[in-house]
């Protein structure tokens, strides 16, 4: 498990580099990713609104804005290249740059999931589904899934802003609830709503539910990178329960 000796306090990012421009470059990189994250949250909420409330304009809004996250992702990659080339970062700076590069990829993929949900909303419209397509229980469980996924993702982006270990652990702790909501949606779509939905409609809704679950997964991936930056520990593929217990025990 986690090497106790290495459980250092959170990196003091307030103490700047002797070369101030280095600080600005890292801040710019992080700013791009925070902006990407905010857009993903907005677009996910809009996509889910389009899905559940039949607001097609929200779906089109998401599709229109998709390229912006992609362009920001390219900007983030460019900044990563430049920082590495100019500064040859080491220690915590190296971890920050590597982690932000991975986080940018996760955020961009989360944005793709928002787009996927919007596409499912439009496909359901094209299938000419009636307004009572979604049963109340199914609607509730999809809302729960949306709330959990968006909440996790938003908190993961906040954790990136300060490389907050405690915030990252909160996201890990939310994972069981996310899977519970996701399983609930799958169960309803597979059993209870079998008779009221066509196979095509069921596939659309399953795809949307899966996309929401994946957004939560991306949030957890981002949380892993936050811990990597703050503690220098790669916690991917580690037992979550033991990890949470260990770090909580150390005061995070």
């Amino acid at each position: 498990m986690t090497d106790d000796r290495s459980l250092k306090p959170i990196v003091d990012l307030a103490s700047g580099h002797t070369v101030r421009r280095y600080d600005l470059e890292l801040a710019k990189l992080r700013g791009i990713i925070l902006e990407m994250g905010e857009r993903v949250v907005e677009q996910t909420q809009s996509a889910v609104k389009a899905l559940l409330d039949r607001e097609d304009s929200q779906a089109f809004w998401v599709l229109d804005r998709e390229p912006q996250i992609d362009f920001l992702s390219l900007d983030a990659d460019e900044e990563v290249f430049l920082v590495i080339a100019r500064r040859q970062p080491a220690a915590v700076d190296l971890r920050i740059v590597l982690a932000l590069s991975k986080i940018a990829a996760d955020v961009e993929r989360a944005g793709d999931k928002a787009v996927r949900i919007a596409r499912q909303a439009l496909e359901l419209r094209d299938l000419d589904a009636g307004s009572d397509l979604l049963s109340e229980p199914l609607r509730d469980v999809l809302r729960q899934l949306d709330d959990k996924a968006c909440c996790m993702f938003e908190r993961s982006i906040k954790a990136v802003a300060t490389f907050d270990v405690a915030g990252a652990l909160n996201i890990f702790e939310d994972e069981p609830t996310l899977y519970q909501a996701s399983n609930g949606a799958r169960k309803l779509l597979g059993e209870l709503d079998r008779e009221s939905l066509t196979a095509r409609q069921t596939v659309c809704l399953l795809t949307a539910a899966h996309a929401l679950e994946r957004i939560g997964n991306h949030a957890a991936n981002i949380a892993e990178q936050v811990i990597y930056v703050a503690l220098g520990q790669d916690v991917r593929y580690r037992n979550r329960e033991i990890l949470i217990e260990t770090l909580r025990h150390h005061g995070y």
Partner: protein, 280 residues
Amino acid sequence: MEKATGAISAAELANSQHSRETVGDFTAVDPRMTCREVDVWYGSKQAIKGVSLDIGKNEVVSMIGPSGCGKSTFLRCLNRMNDTIDGCRVTGSIQLDGQEIYDKGLDPVPLRARVGMVFQKPNPFPKSIYENVAYGPRIHGLTNNKAELDALVEDSLKKAGLWNEVKDRLDQPGTGLSGGQQQRLCIARTIAVSPEVILMDEPCSALDPIATAIVEELIDELRQNYSIAIVTHSMQQAARVSQRTAYFHLGDLIEVGETNHIFTNPQHKLTEDYITGRFG
């Protein structure tokens, strides 16, 4: 603590600053040199405070830290170069293959053949390339005849990666070579007396990037046969050439560990601040 040279007055002892505890393991698996609780004083000023560090066989140990942190002072203790500085006293234990190098009976001249040194600025003798390399073996009586000496010169220049560049002009002055070639000539000169340890004090700081790369490649090759301790202000160089890195700060050895670890996840804040450029 064994007192190696000189005496310290009661007042100085009272003023002696306690060393900070070093983070990391300062021992080597197979040590060639072992240093324990080394203090160095310049008059009443303490430059090194209780430093313990091993130099292992077939490894490169880099010493980094801001100017005035004591890394060069510590390096110079390893072959008693500080003996030449008035008012400098070294206490503690420094052993080469188990032998205390500050024993009163030990002659520093042969010690400096066993623990050779390469300086910041290339300093070839104002003699021919051949004589620069041959001088050491000759005064130490390491060869019996001209043929052996020729072979030793050739071997040393080959090990220093300089042979192909100078084999046709061995009789020309060493000072006529380029800066990088001069530094490699100095390394060849050091190698020629069969040292066990090579100390390098910022060996590339006066060289251009190409010459630096050649010397770094040479350091990696020399590691197969020698123990190397290098002081450098280039952290990238320390990261590239060494297996272990020691970070000094105001005379203390703050942290020592595997270079890969020091440059990715140092444990001490001072180390991290220095490595990431947040220092000062």
